[in-house]
């Protein structure tokens, strides 16, 4: 637990510093690299919070694809010299996030969250860490899942199962959205004349 706390605070300091760098640094290329660092650190947070599948997805999609896209965009538009200029809205642009941050912190601290009961913590960890529904009898015994009915439930609970069972409609909608975005991006990037 103590080790996790240390990792958490190190990651927190790195992510806030890198995020500040992204919005403050004038050289856009460096900002893009700092953004990749933010993505990696967020993947670290996901591992800390037993969301391993999301951490892998984060590294694949954000670090692998989106950062590269940003770096391409920075290089292709050649405004690196001019850089990351601020606009004329500095005061409202600082005030609004500051107010929002204050409100969010107050809500996070004062709300009475209902934590997961200690007896179920290991079971929840097991369910959240897995993304497919294969789990051995020994593991189930260790987290105290003994009856056949309970075993069935824990076995069935997986991210992939949930995606194609309870959330199948949004899943399909997102697939169509991705396809539409792909075609739209192609049409936009290709231009009218060529």
């Amino acid at each position: 637990m103590f080790f996790q706390d240390i990792v958490f605070w190190v990651l927190a300091v790195v992510v806030i510093g890198a995020a500040l760098g992204v919005v403050v640094v004038r050289d856009l290329f460096r900002a893009a690299l700092l953004l990749a660092l933010v993505f990696v650190v967020v993947a670290g947070f996901f591992v800390l919070m037993s969301a391993e599948f999301l951490a892998v997805v984060q590294v694949l999609i954000y670090v692998g694809a989106i950062s590269i896209l940003f770096i391409f965009a920075v290089m292709l538009t050649r405004d690196v010299r001019q850089g990351n200029l601020p606009n004329r809205l500095q005061i409202p642009a600082v005030l609004l996030p500051a107010l929002l941050l204050a409100a969010l912190v107050v809500v996070a601290v004062t709300t009475d969250w209902r934590p997961i009961p200690d007896a179920q913590q290991e079971r929840v960890d097991l369910v959240q860490t897995r993304s497919v529904s294969i789990v051995s009898e020994d593991t189930l015994d260790r987290v105290g899942v003994s009856t056949a009915d309970e075993r069935e439930k824990v076995r069935e609970a997986g991210l992939a199962d949930l995606l194609i069972r309870d959330f199948v409609l949004p899943f399909e909608a997102v697939s169509v959205l991705l396809l539409a975005a792909l075609i739209g991006a192609l049409a936009l990037a290709r231009g009218r004349g060529s």
């Binding site: 940003f70 965009a73 990351n84 601020p86 642009a93 975005a181 991006a185």
Partner: protein, 109 residues
């Protein structure tokens, strides 16, 4: 490491992203700030899924995964958004030879 500290870190990340989206002139910098906000929201969702007991936890253990499912959807939407956003940036750069938001006035009048 607790739910509150995780939520506060995500809130700080979100507000930095919001500041960047409001205060920058370069379109690419604004898109980067929007990605920061998406990541903060994902952190929030996963943290709440990790620490807070959902209503149906006794009947259905799979309900503790709902936050992660939402995060998967947000990652997908963010990828679509960034592909389209950069497509628009390239189109704008080709027609106006700039990526400065204050000069993006072609739609005026």
């Amino acid at each position: 490491m607790s739910l509150e500290s995780m939520l506060i870190v995500a809130a700080i990340l979100f507000c930095i992203g919001l500041y960047g989206a409001l205060a920058r002139r370069n379109v690419i910098a604004v898109l980067m700030s929007i990605e920061l906000m998406f990541n903060a929201v994902n952190l929030n969702l996963v943290a709440v899924a990790r620490y807070v007991a959902p209503r149906g936890i006794q009947e259905n253990i799979a309900s503790v995964l709902t936050g992660q499912v939402f995060a998967v959807f947000i990652i997908t939407v963010a990828a679509a958004e960034i592909a389209l956003g950069l497509g628009i940036v390239f189109a704008m750069y080709r027609s106006a030879a700039t990526v400065d938001l204050t000069e993006a006035t072609q739609l005026r009048n």
